[in-house]
């Protein structure tokens, strides 16, 4: 019989979680709440004797000196209560570990139907709290109705005997699994089928699918297997495989570009091939360190003689937009499976993140599903639990606010892995399933969750989007699987491995079957979370924490033994063949048989019209006189949401686990500020380092996406150079997040312009990668950054996100002891600016603060930059520099302040020779790329100036002993703020968040 166990802190102890909720509720809603305490409720849905119950209560679930627990309601003396629990079928990680703990404590296995459901009861004190207010707290802070249910109680409604009662969110699918078949008599039937089943098939694909299923040889082969018209398993498979998410149809599309000003026309056929694959192949020719690119789950570069590094970037925007915590958690845990599924499996050594959301204090009329503040809190927390509980350091990240992300947020997640060069005498980066190998599914079980995630993320989010693809990741299960698979790898038990991500088994099995030359799958063998799933659901479910592994039949026993030791479920669910077919059966009956060559057939490319209107025709430079209060302007800039301190996020993430941290995300003895790049030491017994940087600059997209992409790539490169990583070893990862580029006269009237923006960004990617010789090790595109939001009067608005490129760059440092940081080191050190400052304020933070976009977008000039980038490398090799810092968003003024704050030392800088023909504000806040701020010991001044002879190196001044930042120009002091003033401005906005 099920019982409810309630657990709380001893009354005299503080309740940190409750206090956190209290803070949030006050901040979010301005409510007068005195205190909040939280009770943990466990609904134990299993049979226990009274003795057993007493035992698990005292030994497992109640700490004798800090907690109280009871089978009776513990709640009393409150002014309002909210109960929050999961809906049926939502992953309950704490419930699962509770079952493990109970089994261990009682030393007996629990029956398969036993379950523990965890939930929270929040008890509020505050005399004037109304049920309406509590309902708002429940709805907009504590519970997300997609995955959770809540109940609100006033003291009057509360039954002190029953409490919340017994709430058991069992999944009960009274359903006999069936396979449906569909005769496709016409294209219209197929189109209608696609619409009804959310298959998102394109019109142009329909004839190819229909034709395939009417070929005589196909028909006879199918008849021999007992198959007639296509089944739901087959159609769902094709829909997954053809989705934009899996197949990147946009990036493989054909763009007809027209410059409306000049009349110039150009066709960009297959941007992926032209702008990513081709340059990368060319560049890789001259870079022997490029090990494996463009085919596996992640890219591979050489680290040293014995190891390679593996890198991957992903975005998880649509799910995070619906359920922020679950979406970002699933995103980070999911991207970790990419290196794990690369080559024969890489160990995870780092994670990164990038969040783009609406303003945290947004108070405008649009009503996104989740307010940006709640959304941001949720995505931060998801990456925290996903990264920390995986034992993978979250190395660095970025946060960018803009109102256009109200439509859909961006959640970028990236992963670094380490892969042995050789595994049992075979190349670690190679993998291939062989006919005869068993196909095993490892890790989590399959449920109805995550169905149609892929096709849903290929659509614009709206009220009708199926919410079933929202999931909760389970880092604990995955960490066990990670440890297990690496040991299996080292024993030589793995011939092929890939992750089960978007598209679930259909995608992982389909792709690996293509490599092997055939595959058969027995769906009834797939372990399920609960009975009643149809075969097509098992086939495409995106239930998390799963990998697909090919194992030689003779190795199955040792593989299973190892799995048992690691407490990981591994099940043989199929076999690789040489039939050329993908064959799926359920209970011995065929339910799919498709020639693997079908997907390689000539599906027509997607076609896009792209029309570019140059910025001169859309925008102009503002008419702006010189600033009088320079100090006020700098302090205001430091307080801008996109420039100010966000230490509260960084500190929630364990960036040091594994002991490899050399340059941390925050740098500086006095006041840690964001460093240029992070540096890790993947092998603790070596001095080689791996440097990693991340850049994004969506603001410039409003002017020209070509320069947006170019500046972003240049920034990622400079970030690496600034810490001392070599240019020749830089590899890149491109993650595009774009609004829908398909023109529609009513739904997307500027679709052609957005398509042209994409074309121009792809051109920049191609040009910059060629110029800096950066192979693109990995990348991904996410194409539907749009949302439909109700406004003040219930009218719907389409909100499209700024075209955004996340660019991640990685490089290998031969000796990490030569690394340089941005903080001044000593009073009297000489300070220099390297690189030219031009009046390039278009899209700058300074213009944005004043309400302008402007026209003068920062422009990358590689032929000018590269020569002194080389000299800078040499200066760092010679250990000449005391500090080095790239200049990014905010410009010279902001970054002089940050280098000073980090060191706790002031600076005096004369900007007379910086952009001398422009106003002082241009010298201070222009965002010209290609620039660095350097400092050297006075005795090194001569050497430095000699080394940079002929290069744009400008002496600015020196580091001061005191805490004054003095900036002068043409004999006049522009400002002299103290470090205390700078720090106060920089930390004001988010300084009280923890």
């Amino acid at each position: 019989m099920a019982v409810r166990l309630e657990i709380g802190w001893q009354p005299e102890l503080a309740d940190a979680e409750g206090e956190g909720v209290c803070r949030q509720a006050r901040e979010y809603f301005g409510l007068a709440i005195d205190s909040v305490r939280v009770l943990k409720l466990l609904m134990l849905d299993l049979d226990l004797t009274p003795e057993e119950l007493a035992r698990i209560r005292t030994e497992v679930f109640t700490h004798p000196i800090t907690q109280v627990s009871s089978l009776q309601p513990l709640a009393r003396d409150f002014d309002g209560a909210i109960w929050v629990g999961y809906r049926p079928g939502v992953r309950d990680n704490a419930g699962a570990t509770a079952c493990e703990a109970i089994a261990a404590c009682l030393d007996r296995p629990l029956p398969p139907e036993a379950a523990v459901y965890t939930s929270n009861l929040f008890l509020f004190k505050g005399r004037r709290l109304t049920t309406k207010q509590l309902t708002q707290v429940a709805r907009e802070l504590l519970a997300n109705d997609l995955i959770q249910e809540f109940r609100v109680y006033s003291p009057k409604q509360w039954d002190p005997e029953e409490g919340v009662g017994l709430i058991l969110p069992r999944v009960e699918l009274a359903h006999q699994p069936t396979v449906s078949v569909f005769s496709i008599d016409s294209l219209e039937t197929l189109r209608e089928l696609s619409r009804q089943r959310h298959l998102a098939l394109r019109d142009a694909d329909l004839p190819i699918i229909r034709d395939y299923f009417s070929r005589p040889q196909v028909l006879s082969k199918r008849a021999a297997l007992g198959l007639g018209p296509p089944t739901d398993v087959e159609l769902e498979y094709l829909a997954q495989a053809r989705s934009d998410h899996c197949n990147h149809n946009t990036f493989r599309g054909r763009f007809h570009y027209l410059d409306l000003a000049s009349g110039q026309r150009e066709v960009l056929d297959n941007p992926f091939k032209t702008c990513i694959e081709a340059p990368t192949r060319e560049i890789a020719q001259g870079k022997p360190w490029v090990v494996s690119v463009l085919w596996d789950n992640a890219g591979v570069g050489q680290f040293d003689d014995a190891f390679s590094y593996v890198i991957k970037g992903e975005t998880h925007n649509s799910p995070s937009n619906l359920e922020a915590y679950g979406g970002s958690l699933t995103g980070i845990v999911g991207v970790y499976r990419d290196p794990l599924g690369t080559g024969k499996g890489a160990k995870l050594i780092g994670g990164i993140y990038g969040f783009c959301v609406g303003p945290r204090d947004y108070a405008g009329p649009l009503q996104p599903r989740l307010h940006p503040r709640r959304l941001l809190d949720g995505v931060i927390q998801g990456v925290k639990d996903g990264g920390n509980k995986s034992g993978v350091p979250t190395l660095t990240g970025a946060l960018y606010f803009d109102e256009t992300y109200l439509g859909k947020c961006l959640v970028f997640v990236g992963a670094l892995g380490l892969l042995p060069k050789e595994v049992q005498g075979e190349p670690g980066a190679a993998k291939k399933a062989r006919p005869g190998d068993l196909l095993l599914m490892c890790g989590g079980r399959v449920g109805r969750d995550g169905i149609h995630g892929v096709t849903a993320s290929s659509e614009v989010s709206s009220a009708g989007t199926p919410a079933g693809h929202v999931q909760i990741g389970d880092p604990y299960t995955q960490k066990k699987m990670h440890d297990f698979l690496l040991e299996a790898r080292d024993l030589g038990l793995i011939t092929f491995i890939t992750d089960c991500g978007g598209g679930g088994l259909s995608s992982a099995v389909g792709e690996s079957g293509q490599m092997a030359g055939g595959v058969e799958v027995w769906l009834e063998k797939v372990p399920l979370k609960y009975a009643g799933l149809d075969p097509w659901e098992i086939w495409i479910s995106e239930s998390q924490e799963r990998m697909v592994v090919a194992v030689a039949p003779g190795n199955e026993a040792p593989f299973q033994d190892l799995a048992r030791k690691h407490n990981v479920e591994a099940t043989a669910i199929g076999r690789y063949t040489s039939s050329g077919m993908l064959q799926v059966s359920h209970q011995g009956r065929a339910c799919a048989a498709i020639d693997l060559s079908l997907l390689e057939e000539e599906f027509p490319p997607w076609e896009f019209a792209a029309q570019w209107l140059p910025p001169e025709r859309r925008l102009q430079e503002p008419v702006l006189g010189e600033v009088e209060d320079h100090q006020g302007a700098l302090l205001a800039l430091l307080d801008r949401p996109n420039l100010c301190a966000r230490e509260w996020i960084t500190r929630q993430y364990d960036h040091e686990v594994q002991g490899a941290s050399v340059l941390k995300p925050l740098v500086g003895r006095n006041l840690p500020v964001p460093g240029d790049a992070v540096l890790v030491r993947p092998r603790l017994d070596s001095h080689r380092g791996l440097a990693l940087s991340l850049a994004l600059n969506p603001a410039y997209s409003a002017i020209d996406t070509y320069q947006m992409a170019a500046v972003t790539i240049d920034e990622a490169v400079r970030r690496l150079l600034a810490v001392g990583a070599p240019l020749d070893h830089i590899g890149g990862v491109d993650n595009f997040c774009w609004p829908n580029v398909e023109y529609h006269p009513e739904q997307n009237p500027d679709g052609k312009y957005k398509a042209a923006q994409l074309v121009r960004a792809c051109w920049a990617l191609r040009d910059l990668c060629r110029a800096y010789e950066i192979p693109l090790l990995s990348g991904k595109d996410s194409m539907y950054v749009d949302g439909l939001l109700p406004g003040a009067f219930g009218e719907m608005h389409r909100v499209s996100g700024l075209p955004t490129l996340f660019f991640t760059a990685v490089s290998v440092m031969g000796d990490l002891r030569r690394a340089v940081t941005l903080d001044w080191k000593n009073p009297g050190d000489r300070v220099y600016l390297l690189g030219e400052t031009r009046p390039e304020l278009g899209g700058s933070e300074f213009y944005e603060m004043l309400g302008y976009v402007g026209l003068s977008v920062p422009t990358v000039r590689v032929p000018e930059f590269l020569p002194y980038y080389r000299v800078l490398e040499q200066a760092i090799q010679e250990e000449l520099l005391a500090s080095c810092h790239g200049l990014y968003k905010g410009g010279l003024g902001v970054h002089l302040a940050l280098a000073s704050l980090a060191a706790g030392l002031g600076v005096e800088a004369d900007l007379s020779r910086v952009a001398p023909a422009s106003p002082a504000y241009a010298a201070l806040y222009s965002e010209s790329p290609g620039r660095f701020l350097l400092s050297v010991a006075p005795e090194q001044q001569g050497r430095l100036e000699k080394l940079f002879q002929g290069q744009p190196l400008h002496f600015l001044g020196q580091v001061r002993k005191d805490g004054q930042m003095q900036v002068a120009r043409a004999g006049r002091t522009l400002m002299q703020p103290s470090l205390d003033q700078l720090q106060a401005a920089w930390q004001r906005r988010f300084g009280n968040l923890v």
């Binding site: 030393d107 034992g391 050399v662 030491r681």
Partner: protein, 290 residues
């Protein structure tokens, strides 16, 4: 008792004492903890928790047990609770015998949480094995990664001999040391409080955030058992075994350079914990005779 059929206790640890570093089930600092012990001169072996639970007599092959940081069983029902329960059921009294025989145990972060839930800490006389202390959620309400300054108190503790002040990172969500007043008093009286959070200038943190990062009572960051051979601490000594792990090592390097000296390959301050343990094990002819 599953450990009864145990092997002969190791007579001579030899030049390289053996250290068992637990891993699996969500623990995650096992590699670097093993590396630190290895660097200190121990023969460190990562042993999967399942292997130890199924074959508890393995324990007797080792002279030091390290329970490293991580999130064992996801830490969903109190950090370290489930691993402690599993170890208690499988090892029973063997752990106490392990300690009594002169061997060492260190629990770091999640490992500390495990040791207090096992009751091998604080192991007060007359109340051996009881759960008398707890590590509860940080007062700041969140997980926190930050470097802290620690004051080392004079004690019996094998691991901290010769240390006075040092800097280490903390990385936890549940690290607030809690015990009832009388237990705190007894810990202080018996010299079992080993590490306390301090201000950058070395003064007591007095509970102030961020010097005391979690609200720990009496600023306690680590305690030992009455023998001094069992240490539990929230900060991570294994994360400061090389100078370049320190957040401002580039500043220190620049200072060396200005003196005209090459930047030396110094160990980080956390190495002392592991060096002390290994010297202790090497110095005692047989841990059984301690």
């Amino acid at each position: 008792m599953k450990t009864e059929n145990r092997k002969q206790k190791t007579e001579n640890p030899g030049p390289r004492p053996k250290a068992l570093v637990l891993y699996g089930y969500g623990l995650n600092c096992d590699h670097e903890t093993a590396f630190a012990l290895h660097k200190a001169g121990a023969e460190a072996v990562r042993v999967h928790t399942t292997d130890l639970l199924e074959n508890p007599s393995l324990l007797w092959d080792y002279h030091l047990l390290a329970v490293p940081g991580g999130f064992s069983w996801g830490d969903d029902h109190g950090a370290g609770v489930i691993l402690a329960l599993r170890l208690k059921l499988a090892l029973g009294a063997a752990l106490q015998e392990f300690i009594d025989s002169g061997r060492l145990i260190i629990g770091i972060c999640n490992g500390f949480q495990v040791l207090v839930n096992l009751g091998v800490l604080p192991n007060l006389p007359g109340r051996a094995g009881e759960r008398l202390t707890a590590l509860i959620p940080n007062d700041c309400g969140n997980f926190r990664d930050a470097w802290v300054r620690l004051k080392v108190l004079p004690s019996q503790c094998v691991f901290t001999q010769g240390l006075e002040f040092l800097e280490l990172p903390i990385r936890h969500g549940e690290g607030k040391f809690f015990a009832p007043g009388p237990v705190l008093a007894e810990l202080a009286d018996r010299g079992q409080i080993v590490l306390k959070y301090a201000t950058p200038s070395g003064k007591p943190a007095l509970g102030r955030f961020p010097h005391n990062p979690n609200g720990a009572l009496l600023d306690i960051a680590g305690i030992c058992d009455p023998t001094g051979r069992v240490l539990g601490l929230m900060p991570h000594p294994e994360a400061h075994i090389a100078a370049t792990q320190h957040p401002s090592w580039t500043l220190e390097k620049e200072e060396w350079r200005r003196r005209g000296e090459p930047y030396p390959e110094k160990d980080g301050a956390g190495m002392a914990f592991f060096n002390n343990a290994v010297s202790y094990l090497q110095g005692s002819p047989s841990p059984d005779r301690v």
